[in-house]
Symmetry: C2
Subunit: 558 residues, 2 copies
């Protein structure tokens, strides 16, 4: 049928860095068969979502079309690509395809959520093909900061799409397959690439990306010169980095001890799936405590300053028997993600107080990024020569810049943020529909929509404090006693040192005395008036208008 | 008297960057005459102090010794040095000495707070001497990112101290006096320097600092090549930068319009006090709106992403008739202070959506720091050759690094964080007392202590939500009706879609039915039990334990 079309729809990850979720569809408009790429999370902060555990894309659009979904694919096991699996899978209940390492992590997530682990299918890389409705999908191995990341080669009757996933050009990635120009050229030679959906994270980095292997020399030198205990943190999933660090430690006669659940789990899955071989022996905390500090290297979680991770715990004092001391070294083999600076700097200063030497990435000497930089992106554009490019995995500014680069190279391209459905059947991407997208919050054990107002109320209480007014009326609508005021998150004393709640109570009692019968019998109006008086008095007394909750109790004759 | 001693005590700014306040004292131990240097503020964030307007040092220690204070000195007019003047001066009520520009800003602050402006005394720079008790103080002009910054030469019977204030080595600062080695050498030649208290902000910047004058060329080139409207933001107090930007705009045939109250005020005070001459003519917003975009340059506030400043307002849409359009350029001639990244990036992305070209400092091409870098600090150490160095104006890691540098150069030095009283009478600094220091929050119109728990309660409500339980008991302590639950910042529905408040009410009613007489007549115990049940039910239903406020009303026979 000539009217069939190929569509692309990001539901998360386009216009932000985090919670990736992309949809491809093929078929008659409105009846396309769909596949879903990645189900990721993003992390909340106090400014935007206080008290929330984790944020994920709102997939209501997919839920309403669940019978049109043929499969879910996961490109790699970073939380921003797989983290929502246990929370969102029950809404879709489709087969999930991934490479071995990713699939293993996926099954652990399903197990923890009490979901069937056999929903996850392990797939070998290209030339292995997964058929999903009108789509044929292959996993093309790429280097990234986690084992077995993959680009997806997505074939449809309308042409071939390459979905890059997260990747970098690394010819010596320490763990996993090196970058191979020929393999990418072969993809385009086999069938012309209609569209490239491409990682945009590092589009503003103008130098060529560096290989993971360049770190071994500097890290070995750094660690061999250290005197006391040496502690290093990086993402627990960066198994290649852990290997480099561990080998540098061994070269300096240090035994290695790993602290932090997520890091141990990643190492264990990496060994179990065969992606990591020859990792030096790791000793237990108990054994480590018996070893001279000079002969010890701890690998720990918490490179982003996470409050509950091992780095932060060590910065607060003793942790699992370990304690940082003057003369020890602490290396952040990582880059601080924008927004996490405060937490990281807090840890640095705590270590500084202990006399610990703090080492950061030292302008890339001790850390390299897992994403392709701008010249690398341009190289990939040239290898694939796609008809069009739609940037993904970036904030708006990244997507806009990446599109500009494509245009400069004569490639059609467009910015498609979350919710923008692009028809990519023709020569250039064309926005055809805008889907209302949003965010789901995991809050305790409940998923709530970002639009519910729950979190907005929390932010308001945090900014303004909360005043509670209770009053009791009898069956004739006469007040019984005076209104009672409790304050939370507000100062006790107002002007002239008078207790604030008493001042408000006094003014409310006066108000009640003059309130008309009509107001007294109307809960909504009475509540509104009480709220108004409370806010006015607080404004005069302390210069703030609190949130106000009014509870009116009416006694009825028994 | 041989027992007299010279002391130094930071109350703010040492162990943090912000809210500077330092005390020097001379006399018999416990009876020293005191002078205060700077009364600054720092800015709150959602993580630490939601809803708070501004944070300042708790000066309780000074208040208790107010009759021993001889004077207050302000080094320069940045908010982290002068911002608390209007709030804290009433607690001290001493003469305040500052150079003309700073004094003028200080008087405006006093006026706004309804305080006597004649408490502020304008002082000419060295050789002019201010006598304050046993101290003789001179203002030594230094370059910084605001006009008329000064180091203080503090002479006491125990020797000469140099308090650097914030400074950089700039031989062509565009506005104000160029750096002059000879002037600093003369200070040490005139009388040996016992102690240098020194700015540590840029101790980790290993290259020599660059002059403000280096920006004129690149900025002129950038602005002349821009096509649409050109907007630039920087700190409103960076009058030299504003002048460079304005001159670059004039060279490109652009008229200049200034948006943002604080920036206008700084420019006006700078012109009025004679520190700024030859600033190009500024036009009003009304005039500006009549001019072709290509011929317009806006200078706006909000370089740190402040929500209410002009940059953020323009990123949200129309502001004072101005609207950013595709093809316009927006320059951040500034560095983002750690912690402000989220706000700044939000603005970048909003502009990106509008098609505006965003330009950041471009690795220093369009911005230079106002603080001395490490080689510059070392240069100053060599010029003054102090007996000892006590670093200030830095987080712990900055102070520790600066101390290390001093030690390497053979200078005695020690880290003194807020509250550490150092005896600097001898050859080396010696900690003699630890004062409990803290922070005061301006919250609305009230000053509250960080220790009061008010802000802690706000954070708890933001993280956990707030449940309010009201119940009424009659004169016999029998419940009248069932407990009533209102929720704020919590999801409406619990497990199985049941309304959460009704589930809690049901369980509370059951509890009340079985509660013993002893509990029912004891408000404290009843409240505790109600709180416990509420938190348990919420945990089961939604996986969160809310803050709970219980209001028990007891009806008494009339």
């Amino acid at each position: 049928m000539s009217k069939d079309r190929l569509i692309y729809l990001p539901l998360g990850g386009a216009g932000e860095i985090g919670m990736n979720c992309y949809v491809y569809g093929y078929g008659a408009p409105g009846k396309e068969r769909l596949i879903v790429i990645d189900l990721g999370v993003t992390f909340p902060d106090m400014d935007g979502a206080p008290g929330v555990d984790v944020i994920m894309p709102d997939i209501a659009w997919l839920e309403e079309r669940v019978d049109r979904i043929d499969a879910i694919f996961i490109t790699h096991a970073h939380e921003d690509h797989i983290g929502a699996l246990g929370h969102l899978w029950p809404k879709l209940k489709k087969k999930v395809y991934a490479r071995r390492f990713t699939a293993t992590i996926g099954r652990l997530k399903m197990e923890e959520a009490g979901l069937p682990t056999d929903a996850i299918i392990t797939v070998d890389p290209r030339p292995k093909v997964v058929e999903a409705g009108p789509f044929k999908v292959q996993f093309l191995p790429v280097a990234h900061s986690i084992p077995e990341s993959a680009a997806l080669i997505i074939d449809s009757p309308a042409g071939r799409v390459v979905h890059s996933g997260d990747f970098k050009l690394d010819q010596s990635p320490v763990v996993g397959e090196p970058w191979n120009d020929a393999a990418w050229e072969a993809v385009a030679a086999e069938r012309p690439v209609k569209a490239l959906m491409c990682d945009s994270t590092n589009v503003f980095s103008t130098h060529q990306g560096r290989s993971e292997a360049t770190l071994a020399g500097p890290l070995t030198e750094l660690i061999s010169k250290a005197t006391g205990m040496f502690v290093a943190t990086t993402f627990g999933s960066n198994v290649a980095r852990l290997k480099t660090l561990a080998e540098a430690a061994r070269a300096s006669d240090r035994s290695i001890c790993v602290l932090g659940r997520s890091m141990k789990r990643m190492l264990s899955v990496a060994e179990q799936t065969g992606v990591l071989a020859g990792f030096p022996r790791v000793i237990s905390p108990e054994e480590a405590l018996e070893i001279p500090r000079r002969n010890l290297m701890l690998l720990v979680t918490g490179s982003q300053g996470e409050r509950r991770a091992a780095s932060a715990a060590l910065s607060r004092g003793k942790y699992l028997g370990f304690e940082m001391k003057a003369g020890d070294s602490f290396l952040f083999s990582s880059r601080t993600i924008p927004g996490n600076e405060r937490g990281v700097i807090k840890i640095w200063n705590a270590f500084s107080e202990m006399g610990v030497r703090i080492i950061d990435d030292n302008n890339g000497l001790y850390h390299v990024s897992g994403h392709a930089n701008r010249p690398d992106l341009e190289h990939v554009h040239r290898l694939l020569l796609p008809d069009m490019l739609v940037p993904m995995h970036g904030e708006h500014r990244h997507l806009a810049e990446h599109t500009r680069i494509a245009h400069e190279a004569g490639i059609a391209g467009a910015v498609a943020v979350n919710g923008t459905m692009m028809d990519i059947t023709g020569e250039a991407p064309r926005a055809v529909e805008f889907i209302e997208t949003g965010r789901l919050y995991l809050d305790g054990s409940v998923l709530i929509s970002a639009m519910d107002g729950v979190v907005r109320d929390r932010i308001r209480m945090a900014l303004n404090g909360h005043a509670l007014v209770t009053l009791i009326l009898d069956e004739k609508n006469d007040p019984m006693g005076d209104p009672w005021v409790e304050l939370m998150g507000l100062t006790d004393l107002g002007k002239g040192g008078r207790p604030l709640n008493e001042t408000i109570e006094g003014d409310l009692a006066e108000y009640m005395a003059r309130a008309g019968r009509k107001v007294l019998r109307d809960d909504a109006r009475l509540e509104e008036e009480i709220r108004k008086v409370t806010r006015q008095v607080a404004m005069e007394e302390i210069g703030k208008k609190p949130e106000v909750t009014v509870v009116i109790s009416r006694l009825v004759a028994e």
